[in-house]
């Protein structure tokens, strides 16, 4: 905080007049930066759109302070239930909503299987990104998004006869976070 104040040419107390805590500031930064990624352009093809989503996320995480902010937020979210709630509401569900838009388009185009769960897609697309960012340290080149989407395509695509995936989300939880259209029926 002292460092932030100094780099901003501002007194530390001034920061604390706008943001109640360090976590609060971090969350504000995060939400502000998320604006750029949240719009989902219509590219005419689902592969291109999903790739764009991944690439924008990777770029944001690796070329801005977002990566650092996210890393710092992990233990905070774990320790502060209120922050966790806000984060899920403002960030996680938002990402799922964005993916939902793309999934809906893809289904409408007949490119994606009709019972595809956007939350599952989110897990599969963002999970590897954060795993590399937080733990593995493996770099993500400019072709990462393209290759990840290409790899996962057989899971998403409409042609094959794959079993749907719910990842064992209990109905309560899903309902609590998602008041949208009812998801494709999921066994288990």
């Amino acid at each position: 905080m002292e460092g932030v104040a100094e780099r901003a040419g501002v007194a530390k107390t001034t920061i604390y007049r706008r943001y109640r805590s360090k976590t609060d500031l971090a969350l504000a930064v995060l939400l502000d930066m998320l604006e750029d990624v949240s719009t989902q352009p219509y590219l005419g093809g689902t592969v291109a759109e999903l790739t764009k989503l991944v690439d924008k996320t990777v770029s944001l995480m690796t070329t801005t302070v977002m990566g650092m902010v996210m890393k710092g937020l992990v233990p905070e979210i774990a320790a502060d239930p209120h922050l966790a709630s806000v984060y899920r509401e403002k960030v996680v569900s938002r990402r799922v909503a964005e993916v939902s838009v793309l999934v809906a388009r893809g289904i409408a185009r007949g490119e994606l299987r009709a019972d595809l769960d956007p939350e599952v897609v989110t897990d599969l697309l963002l999970g590897p990104i954060y795993y590399r960012l937080f733990l593995s340290g493996a770099p993500m080149s400019s072709t990462f998004g393209t290759q990840l989407v290409a790899t996962l395509l057989p899971v998403f695509a409409a042609t094959q006869g794959n079993p749907p995936f719910s990842a064992g989300v209990d109905p309560d939880f899903t309902e609590r976070r998602h008041q949208g259209a009812s998801r494709a029926a999921v066994p288990g």
Copy 2:
């Protein structure tokens, strides 16, 4: 640390005689607990083996202190290059090695595509777990592993003709971390 000392019925200074820092202790706990997950039993089927791996990981993260420890390590790894190096060496590469065993078995059985990269499999299997653990907060039921593996199967299985995936890992990095058998050729 005070709390750990108290719960252990030991003076704080005694802990610091064995572990140089809080991070050092956390890493020791992590490595110790990792022993349980590191053995890969022969179950006769790749799906069962991969599912077991995922389930053990999920169980460890959600029913022990491991989850908390991992969350606390994320910013530490980001801030301490030496810790990051040790973590990648002792944990990340170890997980890849375990997955490699299963992938090799699967390829030998003809269940998995021959050009499957264990690192990619690791990303896809562990990424969603940590994403849920660290950020999304979505619960992982007892059927999570089964469903995740079932979902990803079309990516792994030998039958379909999917494009391989390297996720844009630059050769240097892969070589640096993995002195094992050369990976299946991957287009840029």
